[in-house]
Symmetry: C2
Subunit: 169 residues, 2 copies
C-alpha cells in the first residue's frame, strides 16, 4: 500500500506494531517456560496477558479510524525474537540465562516504547484523540514492564553472579 498521507503513515506504523505484538504473544510462552526465576516467569506470563490486551487495544484503534486491523511484517521484531531464541538455545546456567533473557526482553520493550511513542504522537497530531489515548495507555504499560524487568534484573544478576561463583550441587 503506497504511503501518500500522514494517515497512511500512521496506519503503516500501526500494522507494524500489530504484527510485532502477535510475534511477542507467540514468543512469550516459550520464554516463560525456559526461565529459572519464578519472579521472572510470572513477569513474562503477566506480560503475555498484557500483550494480548495490547492486540485488542490496537484493534480498537483501527476501529476508531474505520479501518480493518491488518499486519505488516515487522522485520525488527523478527530479529529481536531471533536473538531471544538464540539465547534460549545456549547451554548456560539457569540464572545466567535469566539475566540474558531479561536483556533480550528489555530490547523488545524498548522497540515497543519507540513504536507506541511514534503512533501516539501521529494520532494526536491528526486529531484522533481516542486512538491517541488508547496508544498512550499501552505506552505507559510498556514503560512499566521495562521498569519491572530492571527491578527483577537487580536480584537475578546478583544471584547469577553468586551461582556461577558457587554452582548448585
Amino acid at each position: 500500500m503506497p504511503i501518500q498521507s500522514f494517515e497512511d503513515l500512521l496506519l503503516h506504523e500501526l500494522k507494524d506494531l500489530y504484527d510485532a505484538e502477535h510475534q511477542i504473544v507467540k514468543a512469550l510462552p516459550k520464554m516463560a517456560k525456559t526461565v529459572y526465576s519464578s519472579e521472572l516467569k510470572a513477569a513474562f506470563e503477566d506480560h503475555l496477558d498484557q500483550s494480548q490486551q495490547h492486540i485488542r487495544r490496537l484493534e480498537q484503534v483501527f476501529e476508531t479510524l474505520n479501518k480493518k486491523p491488518a499486519r505488516e511484517t515487522c522485520e525488527a521484531m523478527k530479529g529481536l525474537i531471533a536473538e531471544g531464541d538464540e539465547t534460549m538455545q545456549e547451554k548456560m546456567d539457569g540464572l545466567l540465562k535469566d539475566a540474558a533473557l531479561i536483556a533480550a526482553a528489555q530490547r523488545v520493550e524498548h522497540y515497543e516504547m519507540a513504536g507506541y511513542g511514534t503512533v501516539r504522537t501521529f494520532a494526536n497530531l491528526l486529531g484522533y484523540h481516542e486512538a491517541s489515548q488508547l496508544l498512550q495507555m499501552t505506552l505507559d504499560e510498556e514503560e512499566q514492564t521495562d521498569k519491572l524487568l530492571s527491578q527483577i534484573a537487580n536480584g537475578v544478576n546478583v544471584a547469577a553472579m553468586e551461582e556461577v561463583a558457587a554452582p548448585r550441587k
Copy 2:
C-alpha cells in the same frame, strides 16, 4: 563461545553492541543522503560521528577488560536497518519519508538505550567501574539523540501534514 560466567555474558552483549554500531555507521550515510529536512540531515550526520566515537569507546571498554574487540552479528539491528531500508525505498513525499525515517531511527536509538543500559549495569556489578563509566557516557548520548529526534519530529510532522495537504508545485 560458551557463556559460563557473568563476565562472558557481558562480553557477549558488548560484541552484539559492537556489531550493532558498525551496522549503524554503515547505514547512516545513506539515511542522511535520503532525507529532505536539513535539520534531520545534520542530526543524522552528527549521529554518524557520534556512532564512530561509540565504536572507539567500546574498543576502550574491551581494552579495560583485557579483551580483543570482536563482533557478534546483531540480528535485531539487521532487522531494524532492513525496516529503515524499506522506508527509504518507498515512493513517498520527502517530508513524509522524513517522518517515517525519524520513527525508524528512534527504534534504533531505543535498541541501543536498552543494550547500553544492560552492559553498564553488568560492568558495574562486576566492579569494572571504568568500563561502566564509558558505557554510561554512550547511554547518555543515545538518550540525547532520541530526545533530539523527538524535537525534530515536532517540526517535520507538522510540515509533512501541511505538505501533503498542499503539495509543492
